[in-house]
Symmetry: C2
């Protein structure tokens, strides 16, 4: 069983310059869960001045946290965000830590070491909570290269992953924030991470900026990685021309995995219904992906979960 962690409601919506109304976000997330997605990153707890599209994140979490079988994730850049996320009742927080020093400064305005210290503070806070405790996950962003710095040393990424584990993260993933990654690099990095960190090794967050997103997924599968982020319709992450999407497309990822004989639990027809909730809310928004238009092959079968 492969876990697809849908990031559209967070990664997708936060990069649009219009805001999806709260009720529409909730309807979309419910439709995604109804399609079989069992983990959804529903928003980020950040300053509403910086990302007004995410200002309603607490309301969204409260509305969806009790959907049966759904792990509700929120991105939190710092301790303040984590406090709000825990208060709203998320099941998991995802903390970005940049491998690139320049990106860390630009993205969260702190050094990499300060970001790691924040992970430790969030873990300490989490350990004080009563009741079911949310998971503390970290995604190492710019792990495959940085638009500001260029190549990022693999040794440093591995060392940083160790520092993050030390700080108390329970799952550490690798993010190709810039769409620079390639399958050979994915194999090298995830192989080393699994050797060093074992079950603390988290998922892969790949972009399709240069068409290589699903190829990177296949490379990561070879290393035993079983969790992948993707975004319905590749929404939001398009810094370039049509077709040059950011996030890998959930529909295409589901097809790839199921065709390979790997169960995802996700139904493509129901996913198509979830797509209509985006377009009803954000008319004219560009959605990407191949499978939505091409359909599944004749004789295609889902794998039993």
């Amino acid at each position: 069983m492969i876990t697809i962690s849908e990031v559209g409601p967070r990664d997708g919506l936060q990069s649009l310059n219009r805001t999806m109304p709260t009720a529409d976000k909730i309807a979309w997330i419910k439709a995604l869960a109804n399609a079989g997605l069992c983990e959804i990153e529903v928003g980020s707890f950040v300053s509403p001045k910086r990302l007004p599209q995410m200002a309603d994140c607490g309301d969204v979490v409260r509305a969806v946290r009790d959907i049966p079988g759904l792990t509700v994730v929120a991105l939190v850049p710092n301790l303040r965000g984590a406090e709000a996320a825990f208060a709203a009742g998320v099941h998991k927080v995802s903390i970005p830590v940049s491998a690139s020093r320049a990106h860390s400064r630009a993205n969260v305005n702190r050094t990499v070491e300060e970001a790691v210290a924040e992970v430790a503070a969030i873990r300490a806070l989490r350990d004080t909570l009563d009741g079911p405790r949310p998971t503390v996950e970290v995604g190492i962003s710019t792990a495959f290269g940085c638009t500001l710095e260029g190549p990022v040393a693999e040794d440093w990424v591995i060392r940083l992953a160790g520092m993050i584990a030390e700080a108390g993260a329970e799952s550490i993933g690798l993010s190709d924030t810039t769409g620079y990654g390639n399958p050979a690099q994915v194999r090298r990095l995830f192989t080393r991470m699994r050797a060093d960190l074992g079950d603390l090794t988290g998922g892969g967050h790949f972009h399709n900026t240069r068409g290589q997103g699903l190829a990177n997924v296949v490379a990561a599968l070879d290393c035993g990685i079983t969790t992948f982020d993707s975004s319905q319709g590749g929404i939001g992450g398009c810094p370039y021309a049509p077709g040059a999407s950011g996030n890998i497309v959930t529909e295409d990822l589901v097809f790839l995995l199921e065709a390979m004989g790997l169960a995802t639990g996700v139904d493509l027809d129901r996913l198509a219904k979830a797509r209509t909730t985006i377009l009803n809310s954000l008319p004219g928004e560009t959605l990407y992906g191949h499978v939505k238009d091409a359909g599944v092959p004749k004789g295609f079968k889902y794998r039993p979960t």
Copy 2:
């Protein structure tokens, strides 16, 4: 070193409903060769009634066959086509043999066994030629499934490959004509082919119909496959909506392989110039691909050939 076999001038142009003038085809092929592509399928020797876009194939072959270092390939569906191809001076003929019986009937109007017999006839003709002898290559089409028949049994594909080897083909590739293939299937089939046929195992011809084209390339690389077909700008093969291209895109394939540390000998900037020859000749034609728009990563380096 990986060989990228550019099929745009054949596979791409034959699926358009307008015809690129002969001089423009020659200019495009020269620009592709100048970008470093060392194998180009320049056309097909078929009935001009059926495919008027390919009626000038002999002229095209004669104009480009002496480009230094370039292997000039033509598709031939039968002995008559092979005679014309040999007379024009191709370096290689590529013969499609369908694994799907229904597709064989629809595509070349003969049974699979008749198509294999044609391979033997072409090989026999080739062996009578004086001077440097062109290579006889076969691509097994619908090897990964058929839009008419659905799944195609892997045992049958392997048996068919053996029959084709017996008939005298010198290289036997697998073609995902329908865009049905997935990386697990690619690995199974190419692994078995290499076990059975060794160095007679040819390249992979993958489509990106469901976004899986480059993932299939990575799977085939794992089996030791070193030749891949692709089409500049993914030209021509788009049966569906925008983005749902047919052939994998040469530019994206070059980036993927070079980023993985595998030399292709192809220069992306020169490839961009070749792209302009298409658009000058066929204004408004839709071209696909990610790398053309996204550019290469900061710090990207080509591998020495």
